[in-house]
């Protein structure tokens, strides 16, 4: 069996669809869904290989081609299936398939090929990212999902607002990629110079990781530097603290896109990378601590900002940022398996939340402002139930999936880093606040939302949501706390590739942790219920009582505006109605103008000056040519007199 087909199937479909081979809505969508489903099936068919791989851990490797850099130096490109990639593949293909089906019901477009083509491209790129064996190959997928993100966020390209969001996403990603690129270059250089092997494949990197123990700059070991650079790349892709700002804006794309990319798949690529490169992050204490702190700060940031947002999708976006913070946190403390488990569960429940939000948006005729919604539980009863399930899973209530994954993170923190544990717990409280605020403002209350009266949730939208909710009930049991003495499926599976601790058997501690987190979650729940059951009046009350606090939070701590002022490049966009400021004095802009002017006036000026010299000299000499014969004659006479004089002197000198 070939792993290659997993990737090539959606890729070819994407290309065909883009050339409008099938333009009828039904055909385009159905073909796209089938291709993703096909990938899913192929992944499943490879399952048996995982368990017969033997000593090298559950792994199946397939070499595709190689680059011949020098006659004796080659760089192989291949695909690799092991525990991590298998789980990620399943997630991407299955959730991807569900979202394709959902899109069939959700999107109302003039032509569907472009949309489904891009969605398929995204799935193909994500699969490439996850399945590739070496970093360079993975980088193709990494940027490929960035490309698809750009294309999909900017899908409604008539609006500059969407395009700006798409551009922002790609560029912020690129900033992170600088770190990743430099890390790859560094790794290649070191490995090649020391061991003669020109390869970034994970196996090579891992087995020769000791090479990196050498000191780099100052006190930092090379492994530390590489770790920081890799983490910078992760921050860009997974929207961690310094590079998060593209994610809220990315909500300008269609809702299924947000569900797939910015909840389930693309943003989790960073976590995947960290798990793959775990030996680097384990090798340096500084980097691990950095990762942990960035994770916890992001988690708190995301959850606090989400509390006062008005747009459904923005709330969910910040929720994603916050949950990604938790995953990063888990990686930072060395619990990579736990992080991946959370990726899995988060993918499911966040997708469910987004899909339900999509349903709500459609019912409210495209309105996304929760202040204008309310009392929707009668209109959309099934969505209401599923939203509850998603919300409960998000805050981590037993027995839904989110409980198990979040609890594991908290447990690991509790035992090792108590201070951070407290902060994470605070994050749970805030999470609960915002999600239940959202729930109550949208589905409860006695205001009547402006809805589309004949709207019924189509079956194509309902089906995926139902499947996801069922999954939520089942997923958690893959990794149960060990005191329940049930088979630990997932950790054993992961243990083949990652350093995972198995079987703690610390009953008391686990129970305590679980209880405490539930208590915090419940507090948030009751608080939200109290304030928001009847509408957003509480928001206004807080805004009046604590205006600065309110404004700080609702404007995302003003960070986005800071970025805008500092870095955004606006150039003569005076015709764009969505951008009011035609001229921004940002750093980049100033530099660009400066350089442009230097080039035009200074350097080109030098060239023109250089060209002016002959012209000037020419004009001077041309004055002799004034058309007057007599002046010519005078010049001739003068010249001959002088030469005669000189000749006489010379002759006389020679004579002496």
């Amino acid at each position: 069996m070939y792993l290659f087909y997993i990737i090539i199937l959606p890729l070819i479909t994407a290309v065909l669809l883009r050339w409008h081979v099938f333009d009828n809505k039904k055909s385009a969508g159905v073909i796209a869904c089938c291709s993703v489903l096909g990938s899913f099936v192929v992944v499943l068919l490879h399952t048996r290989y995982l368990f017969m791989a033997g000593d090298s851990g559950a792994m199946y490797f397939e070499k595709l081609w190689e680059w011949k850099i020098l006659p004796d130096v080659t760089m192989p490109f291949g695909l690799r299936l092991d525990a991590i990639s298998y789980v990620m593949c399943l997630l991407v293909t299955f959730v991807g398939f569900l979202i394709h089906v959902y899109s069939l019901g959700y999107m109302k477009l003039k032509e569907y090929s472009r949309y489904f083509s891009y969605l398929n491209l995204f799935v193909a790129m994500m699969l490439l990212l996850v399945l590739s064996d070496q970093l360079l190959f993975m980088f193709i997928g990494w940027e490929g999902v960035g490309l698809s993100s750009f294309l999909l966020i900017g899908f409604y390209h008539q609006s500059h607002k969407n395009m700006n969001a798409a551009k922002k996403a790609f560029i912020v990603n690129r900033i992170g990629d600088l770190g990743l690129l430099l890390a790859m270059i560094l790794l290649l250089a070191i490995y090649f110079l020391e061991s003669g092997q020109f390869s970034l494949s994970v196996l090579t990197l891992e087995t020769k990781a000791s090479l990196l123990q050498a000191p780099g700059i100052g006190d930092f070991t090379l492994i530390g530097i590489v770790g920081v650079l890799l983490f910078f790349g992760v921050c860009g892709k997974s929207a961690q603290m310094p590079l998060y700002m593209w994610l809220p804006d990315a909500m300008a794309g269609p809702t299924p896109v947000s569900a797939l990319m910015h909840a389930a798949s693309m943003v989790t690529a960073g976590i995947y990378l960290m798990s793959r490169m775990h030996f680097i992050f384990d090798g340096s204490v500084f980097v691990s601590h950095l990762v942990m702190w960035v994770g916890v700060i992001t988690a708190l940031f995301g959850s606090t900002v989400a509390i006062f947002q008005r747009d459904i999708k923005k709330i969910l976006a910040f929720s994603t940022i916050s949950q990604l913070g938790y995953m990063t946190l888990a990686c930072g403390i060395g619990a990579y398996g736990v992080a991946l488990f959370h990726v899995l569960t988060h993918g499911v429940f966040k997708a469910l939340l987004f899909l339900s939000a999509g349903d709500v948006i459609k019912a409210c005729k495209g309105n996304q402002d929760i202040y204008l919604m309310g009392n929707l539980r009668h209109k959309l009863p099934r969505t209401h139930v599923m939203f509850w399930m998603g919300a409960l899973s998000l805050v981590g209530i037993f027995p839904l999936a989110g409980y198990f994954s979040k609890d594991l993170i908290l447990f690991h923190l509790f035992t090792n880093h108590f201070g951070v544990y407290l902060l994470a717990l605070l994050g749970v409280f805030f999470t609960s606040c915002y999600i239940f605020r959202l729930l109550y403002l949208v589905f409860y209350g006695n205001r009547q939302a402006d809805t589309n009266q004949e709207y019924r949730t189509p079956i194509t939208m309902l089906f995926p949501m139902v499947i996801l909710s069922i999954l939520l009930l089942m997923l958690g049991w893959l990794w149960v706390p060990s005191f329940l003495h049930l088979p630990e499926v997932l950790p054993e599976f992961f243990a083949t590739v990652l350093p995972v601790e198995l079987g703690h058997h610390l009953v008391f501690k686990e129970l305590i942790v679980g209880l405490i987190s539930t208590v915090f979650a419940a507090t948030g729940f009751f608080l939200a219920r109290k304030f928001f059951l009847y509408g957003p009046k509480a928001d206004f009350w807080i805004a009046k009582r604590y205006p600065r606090f309110y404004r700080l939070l609702s404007h995302q701590y003003y960070l986005d505006e800071l970025y805008y002022k500092a870095f955004v490049f606006e150039n003569h966009d005076d015709r764009d109605p969505n951008e009011d400021n035609a001229f921004t004095n940002s750093v980049l802009h100033v530099v660009a103008v400066f350089k442009g002017l230097i080039d035009r006036y200074f350097i080109d000026g030098l060239v023109h000056w250089f060209a002016w010299i002959p012209m000037f000299l020419g004009s001077v000499y041309a004055k002799i040519q004034n058309g007057q014969i007599q002046s010519y004659l005078r010049w001739i006479t003068m010249g001959s007199l002088i030469s005669l004089l000189y000749w006489f002197l010379w002759i006389s000198k020679a004579g002496q």
Binding site: G627, Q628, Q630
Partner: protein, 109 residues
């Protein structure tokens, strides 16, 4: 030199005539006057030749009167030259309606 009119005085005469003729050519504004100046130059050269033929006969090997022969050549050439020059000036006059040299500067630049 003890003699009254020696070679040098003729040479001096011829030089003076040459210079006068040159100055006329260089500074006069009327085309006809310039031609007169040219004639003067020619004649100065002729005087020069004759003077040498007269005072330094041993300078000329073959013929005792080479200088004088050349002087006749000079007169012929001067005449031809005067014709050609006058013809040019006539044509110029037809085009420019003036004989003032200063105004004929079409070859400028």
């Amino acid at each position: 030199m003890p003699a009254l009119f020696s070679l040098q005085s003729y040479l001096l005469l011829s030089a003076m005539l040459f210079v006068i003729g040159l100055i006329i050519v260089l500074t006069k504004n009327n085309a006809i006057q310039i031609i007169m100046g040219i004639e003067l130059i020619f004649n100065a050269a002729a005087i020069n030749f004759v003077a040498f033929s007269c005072f330094r006969p041993h300078l000329l090997d073959t013929l005792q009167m080479s200088g004088q022969v050349i002087a006749i050549f000079v007169i012929v050439v001067a005449a031809a030259d005067a014709c050609a020059a006058l013809a040019i000036i006539l044509s110029l006059f037809r085009v420019f309606k003036t004989t003032r040299i200063q105004n004929i500067n079409r070859l400028k630049g």
